[in-house]
């Protein structure tokens, strides 16, 4: 009962984490169905219609019900702790943000029960397909609208919390990087999500009230959907990755025993990505012929600059450090290496002539998964291993964690690397099956084996979590010798978070406190 009525940011954070991990599992099962269907050519495991629904709901679960809200979960738990606050600025609005998610998920999945099935137009819901689809599409629209409202009011909450609730001494430029990335993410959510709401409203009007926004017969414009959709969804790509970068930037310094290399450069790079993120949406639309190609190409290349700055930040942090390869660090290094590939193959696709060849092929699927799995998901696991002792007062087992990482890392590359080759060979995305004589079968089979290996890699993780909960809590307050304020309180923290705060004189208050202790001891 307490969990239903709680307005405590930590409990809401935990609710977010369980909710989103559940949909990670659901989306993962859908992914396995997709991979099973594509394992061999001319497969009949799934009917075409079912296949379309499954891949659409795979992406919808993963993006809207897992990655975007899980950052709100981590943010809920750790932003107030990081800045030394007692709670979020608006605890009840915070609860509202969370409790909008379950009804949205129910709406979205209710599509499977209605005539015509769930939404089947891909997570991008392009018109004219999405104008004609069945009732599942309407449910999908309403669900995404609800999720958008949740993240918009959540964003305002995060911004006010970080602007106004910081502890004495916690200046903006002493905020942990994770908080900074949540701040820029919140700005993107606040300004981009309402445009998606407008787009969804228009699509709903077109579908239900005879509107002509996207209907050329009535003077509308089909490509308008792509413009308004990507005006949200490209910033949304940064919404999905920036907090992950923040988590990595907390973990790499701790496990390298060094400060983050170039703190301010990282902050400005994050702002740069946020700002540029609003000017690149049409690189998803090069082949429409309806957008200014050189402008969007150049702007997309430019976004590689602040992203490259961050890669240097991370390498500079690890360089010469006293590295310990604990599970959080493994996932963190996995992030840096795999996200780099995701950045590079993305930049290839931003070159207009190359994009004309690669558009809507499996190369794009490879790219997005190197960013969202190689990036975001690795950061999720890095964060879970890193903060599990703080949130639940128990350490996760190191050997199971390493097994999880090794299997997951191999499985990930096995699944998604062959997709580059398939894409270059011309295999279109979102097809339910392919002819045997295309020669695509070996790579697809490899990819499917990889997908099941990822699924297997989750077994040690689940065992790890179950075993941890069966152990009595050992409540390590600061098992990693961390830098940030959450390690200054108990594990889990009390309702009011801190009994007392150490003095905050830099972005690493706990490091400062430890140094001071050492100094007094030697004296």
């Amino acid at each position: 009962m307490d969990w239903l009525t709680t307005v405590d940011h930590k409990k809401l954070g935990i609710l977010y984490l369980w909710f989103t991990l559940f949909f990670f599992a659901v989306g993962g099962i859908f992914a396995l169905l997709v991979r099973t269907q594509l394992a061999v050519g001319e497969n009949t495991f799934l009917a075409n219609d079912a296949y379309n629904q499954i891949f659409t709901m795979h992406a919808s679960s993963m993006l809207f019900l897992f990655i975007i809200p899980i950052w709100a979960g981590f943010g809920n738990y750790f932003v107030p702790l990081h800045i030394g606050a007692m709670d979020m600025a608006f605890p009840r609005i915070n609860a509202l943000s969370f409790w909008m998610l379950p009804p949205a998920a129910i709406l979205m999945f209710a599509g499977f029960l209605v005539d015509g099935g769930a939404a089947a137009g891909g997570w991008t819901a392009y018109t004219p397909l999405s104008r004609q689809a069945g009732m599942g599409m309407d449910l999908w629209i309403l669900a995404v609208l609800l999720l958008g409202m949740s993240s918009t009011i959540g964003a305002a909450n995060f911004l006010v919390t970080m602007f106004r609730m910081r502890a004495p001494g916690m200046t903006m430029f002493r905020m942990p990087i994770f908080s900074w990335t949540m701040l820029v993410t919140a700005l993107l959510q606040l300004l981009a999500t309402p445009v998606l709401a407008a787009a969804l409203a228009m699509l709903f009007i077109d579908r239900n009230y005879g509107g002509a926004f996207f209907d050329p017969n009535g003077g509308g414009n089909v490509v308008l959907w792509q413009n308004v959709f990507w005006f949200y969804s490209h910033p949304a790509v940064y919404i999905m990755i920036l907090p992950g970068m923040g988590i990595i930037s907390e973990i790499l310094p701790v496990f390298s025993r060094k400060p983050l290399f170039g703190y301010k450069a990282f902050v400005f790079a994050t702002m740069g990505i946020g700002a540029l993120g609003f000017s690149v949406w049409a690189h998803h639309m090069f082949t429409t012929g309806a957008v200014l190609l050189p402008f969007f190409g150049i702007m997309t290349f430019m976004i590689g600059v602040p992203t490259g700055v961050k890669i240097f930040n991370w390498l500079g942090t690890v360089w010469g450090g006293s590295i310990s390869f604990k599970s959080p660090m493994l996932w963190g290094l996995g992030f840096v290496s795999m996200f780099l590939i995701g950045g590079l193959n993305g930049t290839f696709s931003a070159a207009v002539p190359v994009d004309f060849a690669l558009h809507d092929t499996y190369f794009v699927v490879a790219h997005i998964h190197y960013v969202l799995f190689g990036g975001s998901v690795m950061a999720v696991f890095a964060g879970l291993y890193y903060w599990f002792p703080k949130i639940w007062g128990r350490m996760l087992d190191e050997r199971l964690g390493q097994l999880h990482f090794v299997l997951g890392f191999i499985g990930f590359n096995l699944t998604f690397f062959p997709m580059h080759l398939l894409g270059l060979d011309g295999m279109p995305r979102r097809i339910a099956t392919y002819a045997n004589d295309t020669g695509w079968e070996p790579m697809n089979l490899l990819s499917t084996i990889g997908a099941f290996l990822i699924a297997v890699s989750m077994i040690p993780f689940i065992i790890n979590v179950v075993l941890a909960f069966r152990r009595p809590p050992d409540q390590p307050n600061d098992p990693w010798e961390g830098n940030t304020l959450e390690w200054a309180t108990t594990s889990p923290p009390p309702v009011h978070n801190f009994d007392s705060l150490p003095p905050i004189k830099s972005e690493r208050p706990l490091f400062d406190a430890r140094q001071e202790n050492k100094d007094t001891e030697t004296n």
Partner: protein, 203 residues
């Protein structure tokens, strides 16, 4: 709020007010998306209103893509007036005049309702519907969402009026009144942009 030691409320604007302003920023982006759709539709069309898109059936049914300007100009004036009266109410409560606030709110609510009634009447007088080309779709979507926001603003001001009657506000404490008036100004500014866009841009 408890006299807590760990709540670090900064000076100046309150958390609630800052959150409210951020919410308004998201509203601006929402209308921005709708305006963008209108401008694209208009830029795509060889003529505006796009009468050439009407089917013979629609013409036979008496569909005419024409707007009623005079009455809407009057209701625009009424909305501007209501912005002035609500701000007058804010100025009154800043000086501690509770009665002035009551009058300011009451008149603004009345004017807001008049605007809504005139909009409803306007809808009944027009010879096109939302499914009559993108002209009708954009017109009803933009003015409809705006009308919903006017209705929301009226409800907001009625709540504030209720709290004023209960004597909740004073010269020092009247932040909710400021928020309501800010919301009302926002709704008003969106309407001015809409009126200029839908009615005044020469075709």
């Amino acid at each position: 709020m408890t006299a807590g030691t760990t709540i670090h409320q900064k000076e100046g604007m309150s958390n609630g007010m800052l959150g409210f302003i951020l919410f308004l920023a998201s509203e601006v982006m929402f209308f921005g998306g709708l305006f963008a759709a209108y401008f694209i539709a208009r830029a795509d069309s060889p003529s505006w209103p796009p009468t050439e898109l009407l089917s013979p059936q629609q013409i036979a049914d008496g569909v005419k893509l024409e707007l009623e300007v005079v009455m809407v100009a009057i209701s625009t004036g009424i909305l501007i007036l209501s912005s002035i009266t609500v701000q007058w109410g804010v100025f009154q409560i800043q000086r501690g005049n509770q009665k002035g606030l009551l009058w300011g709110l009451f008149i603004s609510i009345f004017l807001g309702v008049v605007f809504l009634v005139m909009q409803m009447y306007d809808y009944t007088q027009l010879h096109f519907r939302a499914d009559d080309t993108v002209f009708g779709t954009t017109f009803y979507t933009l003015t409809g969402f705006h009308g919903a926001h006017v209705a929301g603003g009226v409800v907001f001001m009625i709540l504030i009026l209720g709290r004023s009657l209960a004597g909740h506000f004073s010269a020092e404490h009247h932040e909710a009144v400021e928020a309501a008036s800010m919301y009302w100004h926002f709704v008003d500014i969106v309407w001015l942009a809409l009126f200029a866009t839908l009615y005044l841009i020469p075709t």
